[in-house]
Every structure is written in C-alpha cells, then in structure tokens.
C-alpha cells in the first residue's frame, strides 16, 4: 500500500468500516511511513478527544411529538393509508412459509392444468384436418368402417323412411348410428353424411308440415353443405317449393345454381324455361291458379301437379321412385 491508497482508506479505518485485510495492509504501511502514521494518529486523537456532547431536548418533546404524530395520522390521506396497508401485507407476503405455500399451490395447479387437456385434444384435431377436403373426389380417409357403410345403407334407409312417411324412424336412427355424440362426431368428420342427414330431416319436415315450413330448412341444407349431392337434392326441392309458392325469383336463383350440378343440369334448364314463360304469363294475367302452372312448365319427370304445395314431393316419391334416383345415385357413390 502506498500513501495515496492510505489516504483513500484512512477514514474507513478510523470509523471501522474497513475489512481486516486492508486494515492490516494499512498498519504495515504506517510502520514504514512516518507521514501517514502521524496523520492517522492526529485524526484518531481528534476523533477520540471527545465525542460531540449531546444536549438533551426538553422533557415534553416526546409527548409533543407523539401528539403531533397522532394529529397527522388522523389527517393521513386515504392513499397513504392504503399504501401502508399494502406495505404491511407485503411484509407478510415475504414470509417464507407463505411463499412456500404459494409455490406449492402454483406447482400443483400448473401441473394439473398441463395434464388435463391431453384427453380431449386428438379427435378435435382430426376434425379440423378432415373438413376442408374436396367433396366430389373425396378420399375415404375417415377410417371408421361404419362411416363407409352408411352411405349405402342410407339409400335404403331413406326409401324406407319415405315409405313410412313421417315417423323419424328407427331405421334412420340406426343408420346414423344412433347417439347424438356419434352423429356430431361424424358430422364433423364427413360433411356428406351430415348433409344427407340434414336433407332427410328437411324432407321429413316437408312431408309433415308442407313445403312452406320446410323450404327454409331445405335452403339451409343447400347453403351449409355446398357441392354435396344432398345439397343439390335440397336445392332442387327448395326450388320446387319456391316455384310452387310463386316465388319465382328465389326458385330461379336456386335453379341457376343447380344447372352446374351433376344430374340436375337438364332438369334445371327445363324448369327455368318453364319459369320464364310463366313469368311472362303472370305478367299478362296477373294471377294464375297454382295448379295450372306446373302443367305448363313442368319438367318431363316431375309432371305431377298438385293443388297443395305440400303434397307433391311425397306423391312423387311414392309413385315415382325414379325421381329420387339421381340424388340416391349420387349419394350412393
């Protein structure tokens, strides 16, 4: 240690704020350096000469202070009180037992959270990948053999159901594998299945409550499962319903859309042509009895006219199984 270093540490040494090692080095330096030794001795003498004598304040100072503090505390603003409470709570929160308990709860809780979702994740993921696949040339990727089997069954089931008209039959329920859970799972896995299921529902409604009640449902099926055969069948039915109800615009829209669909092109064209002439006539006559319209504009197969808009599909199905053929044929694919 040199004199410069000594000067840096001399106050620390005087007030015992020095580590032992440096203190020893200073002592060694003072043994060899007279200037530093006498400087230290002088400072030490000044320090030891007598600590600054303390004067006592008046007796009542303490009471005065406590009174003043009490007054100040009553005026303590809410913010400060809140902060004080927070500081107190903080001082408790820092206690090790509480910290350990918090840590324990955190560890257990987080591990539970991490474990739980694993059970439900896998099927959902399959659903998401399966959905956007193309409908027309969709590969039978969904593994369930039941799902593969259903389309073929469905044709029969549908015919049976239609024959029994109205009761949402057991066969149908069996065909769709019964439970709602399975249904929804399959609906997600195979849009075609759910489309035909929805179509059947809509058709059942049509038979039960008539065209007017079912048309919304049919429309919905057409919109929700675009491109599926069931959707085409639904659109076809809906178009017929609209036509029967006199809402030619809506019917035209659907038919125009159907023109591009496989198996419906010609029929749609014919009905469209019929509509055009109908519109012309209605403009001329203003009103035409519904029954006469299909006669003029009917497509060859769907000639059966009816006074009740609800009746035709059922009558058609019963008398002309061929009418259902296109839809079934497509679905059976």
């Amino acid at each position: 240690m040199d004199c410069e270093k000594f000067d840096q540490h001399v106050m620390d040494a005087l007030y015992d704020e020095l580590d032992e090692l440096t203190h020893a080095a200073m002592k060694r330096h003072m043994d060899s350096c007279g200037r530093c030794a006498s400087a230290f001795a002088g400072l030490r003498a000044a320090r030891d000469a007598g600590p600054l004598p303390l004067e006592e304040p008046s007796e009542e100072l303490e009471a005065r202070i406590l009174d003043a503090v009490e007054v100040a505390q009553k005026k303590t603003p809410f913010r400060r009180k809140a902060l004080r409470a927070l500081a107190w709570a903080g001082s408790h929160a820092m206690r090790p037992q509480l910290a350990m308990a918090a840590l324990f709860v955190l560890v257990i809780g987080s591990s539970l959270l991490l474990l739980r979702p694993k059970t439900g994740v896998a099927p959902v993921r399959v659903t998401e990948w399966g959905q956007p696949a193309s409908v027309h040339q969709e590969p039978p990727s969904v593994p369930a053999p039941a799902a593969l089997a259903t389309p073929t069954e469905e044709g029969d089931a549908r015919r049976l159901a239609e024959a029994k008209a109205g009761e949402p039959p057991r066969t149908m329920v069996e065909a769709t594998k019964d439970t709602a859970k399975e249904k929804s799972a399959r609906a997600a896995a195979d849009p075609e299945d759910s489309a035909s299921a929805a179509l059947r529902e809509a058709q059942a409604l049509q038979r039960k409550s008539g065209c007017a009640a079912a048309v919304g449902k049919l429309d919905e099926v057409g919109a929700r499962y675009p491109g599926t055969p069931a959707a085409h069948a639904a659109m076809w039915e809906a178009a017929r319903c609209y036509e029967a109800a006199g809402e030619t615009e809506k019917a035209r829209e659907l038919l125009l859309a159907l023109r591009a669909a496989k198996g419906y092109g010609d029929r749609a064209e014919q009905v469209l042509a019929g509509l055009e002439t109908n519109v012309g006539r209605s403009q001329a006559k203003n009103a035409i009895p519904m029954a006469s319209r299909p006669a003029a504009a009917a497509p060859p197969r769907r000639a059966a006219p009816s006074a009740k808009p609800a009746a035709p599909p059922r009558a058609d199905d019963a008398q002309e199984p061929a009418q259902a053929a296109p839809a079934d044929a497509v679905m059976g694919r």
Binding site: M11, G42, L52, E55, A68, V69, L86, A87, W88, S91
Partner: protein, 206 residues
C-alpha cells in the same frame, strides 16, 4: 441521554411493527432517536426551541412517509435523510427572511465573521477553571463543529451523531463517497487544530 439497548429490537423491526399499526413501536423509535436527531438539527440551526419544532416535524414526516420505508433499508439512514431535508428547508426559509444562520457572514456585505466563527471563541477567557476543563472541552468541540463550513458540518454530524456509514451519507447528501470522506477528514483536521490550541492553553494553566 438515557442509553437504550439496541440489541433488544432493531430500529427496522420497530419500523415494520409501526407499519403494521403498532403505535408503541413508534413511541420506542421516538425515545431512541429524538435526542440525536435533536442535536443533529441543533448544530445547524439557531436555538433549541426551533430545533425542537423541527424534530417534531421530522417525526411527523417519518409517520407520513412510513409506507415508503422498505424493510431492507436502514432506519437511521432514512430518518436522517428526512432530518437533513427538514433542516435544509428551514435554513432556506431563514435565508430568504434574511435571518442570520451559522454560516452567514455578519457584516453588511456578509464578509464579516460568521456566527459560528464568533461563537467558536478560540481563547475562552471566562470560566478558566481546571475543574471545568472537561465541560470546556465539550463546549470547544461544539464551537469547532459549529464553525465548520456547512458541507463538512453535515457530514460530520451524520457520521458522529447519526452513526450513518459513509456510503449512506453519500446517498443522503448526493455526492460521491470519496467526497464525503474528504469532507469528513477536513472536519476532523479542523477539530484537531481547535483541540491542539485548547491543549496548549490548558497546559499553560497547569
């Protein structure tokens, strides 16, 4: 001054208890620190009455900002920082009102001897009695301290009365630690000079 055993409960523990609403803990802190804080202020302002008022202000401020006190902080460092602010505020107000402080020169231009220099009588003529030498020496030290420039005096008082470590003094005063140490050294050297003069005088008396 009644000695208080610091081993019982630390200031910091008392402060934490007070933060939790324990008023008795605060009374303990007042009892412990009122005299040193009073002396710290007394050596910087004029008159015991003012010093007592300021001590009261210091403790009120301690209560008001108790929530700011962190449990890892040193109570004395924190309390003396408040005391220093209170005395500086007071001195500033006094200087605005043109009251003479210990550092202010007495002449019209402020170039005469300061009050501190005048009170630090280098040759105490009165009460020259061997019996009174101890008391005289105390008075001499007080006068020498009061004669110090303000920067040196506050460092000296913080270290000697408040027992605040140099590192914390640097924090309170807002200067580097080495500056604090050199101020302390100058203060001690001034004290040393005053003492040697007094020793010469006392020796002459024997």
């Amino acid at each position: 001054m009644v000695p208080i055993s610091r081993e019982e409960v630390t200031d910091e523990a008392l402060m934490m208890r007070f933060q939790g609403g324990d008023r008795a803990a605060f009374a303990g802190l007042v009892r412990r620190h009122k005299t040193p804080i009073y002396n710290f202020i007394l050596r910087q302002v004029r008159g015991p009455a003012i010093a007592e008022d300021l001590v009261q202000d210091v403790f009120v401020k301690i209560v008001q900002s108790a929530s700011d006190f962190k449990h890892e902080a040193r109570f004395t460092t924190w309390a003396y920082a408040i005391a220093r602010n209170v005395s500086i505020d007071h001195l500033r107000k006094m200087s605005l009102r043109r009251h003479p402080s210990l550092d202010q020169g007495s002449g019209d231009g402020g170039d005469g001897p300061t009050l501190g220099e005048r009170t630090a009588d280098p040759a105490p003529q009165a009460a020259v009695d061997r019996v009174a030498i101890g008391a005289e020496m105390g008075q001499l030290i007080v006068r020498a301290v009061e004669g110090l420039p303000h920067e040196q005096r506050e460092v000296f008082l913080l270290r000697e009365i408040g027992h605040v470590p140099f590192k914390d003094i640097a924090q309170i005063v807002g200067v580097p630690e080495n500056t604090v140490k050199s101020r302390m050294r100058y203060a001690l050297e001034r004290l040393q000079e005053a003492l040697s003069e007094y020793e010469d005088y006392a020796r002459a008396l024997r």
